[in-house]
Symmetry: C2
Subunit: 203 residues, 2 copies
């Protein structure tokens, strides 16, 4: 038997569509014998590289986007509350992700992703607030002051910067972004195409 | 029995995702006892009003978009060829649409929409070329020189301008754009949500 191949999944902790995709991607992968590889990035970095801006930065698109975030979550049967503040800088959550990813396990990094995104998008816990992040690290069973030292450590700042640079070099310009068998899929709304690809191969 | 209610559908003749949606929207409406009301607009006008640009105007997004146009067409089982030139100005095709819509019937306007978009997206016939448009009008059974006089007539230029202004006032900022029971859905990829709305009502 061959080793299972991957679904590469890029996300930002502050992206509502990434939160939704994060909730379905593991089941999707399991249905097709794939393994998810998560990559925490900062949308600010990929937007800047591609000369793009967040949809909510355009007043007319903002109103629709806020409606669509909630509707898209409900479509997947997920709890969701539009968070305030939104969007937020998520570098500390992402540095903690990479520390778990590189020094503990991808599974623990995935567990942190779920914990932090659910906290932000269903409980309104602002991930840019250090005290909130330390509480969440505690909920995960991590040492809160250890967590804080991680996100202030140049090594993990650099690791996140590398992840963003790699994403940009790979052609990632938004989130959620998936690559399967070299094929890019951008957006929570590409789930149906991704599923067909996994079922039937290239189309 | 109540009169059937509508699916309002805004499109630009040069939009690949509009071409795809135009091919499925009538069957979707029929499955749920709805009637499609088509509105030809110019994306240039709605982009300008919302301070947006075409995805293909961003180099990094362009490459992905071109791949996704074709993949999204194949996903729906539709013939598709990325046209050259792309995008093109489509005001003449749209003025002819409004003339058919207002003076003949919505059905004839819909038939023109199919004819012109299929010509551009499957046969590479550039709808910005007057000779091409006249040939297509002829294929439709219209008098080609009559068609040309329509798109040069200030009355139909003004009718298209009105349609764009109304779209902008309604919150339309891209294409395809749908409104059902007051609920906006933007993009060919909102088909699954639109279908659930029509089946089950608001979610």
């Amino acid at each position: 038997m061959n080793a299972p191949s991957f679904i590469d999944f890029w996300f930002d902790f502050s992206s509502p569509y990434s939160y939704i995709a994060n909730e379905w991607v593991d089941a999707l992968a399991a249905r097709h014998g794939r393994v998810v590889r998560r990559h925490a990035i900062l949308l600010g970095a990929t937007f800047a590289a591609a000369d793009l801006k967040s949809p909510v930065s355009y007043p007319i698109k903002r109103e629709y986007s806020i409606l669509d975030f909630g509707r898209s979550a409900r479509f997947e049967g997920l709890p969701y509350r539009f968070p305030d503040p939104f969007p937020i800088p998520t570098q500390n959550a992402a540095r903690l992700f990479w520390w778990l990813h590189d020094t503990v396990s991808e599974q623990e990094a995935a567990r942190w992703t779920r914990t932090a995104m659910r906290a932000y998008f269903t409980r309104g816990m602002a991930l840019n607030d250090s005290e909130v992040l330390k509480d969440l690290a505690g909920e995960m069973g991590l040492d809160a002051s250890k967590a804080e030292s991680i996100w202030n450590d140049p090594q993990w700042k650099n690791r996140l910067r590398q992840a963003c640079d790699t994403a940009i070099a790979t052609g990632v310009f938004g989130a959620p972004f998936f690559i399967v068998d070299g094929e890019p899929f951008w957006g929570n709304d590409r789930k149906v195409q991704l599923e067909r690809w996994l079922q039937q191969g290239p189309f």
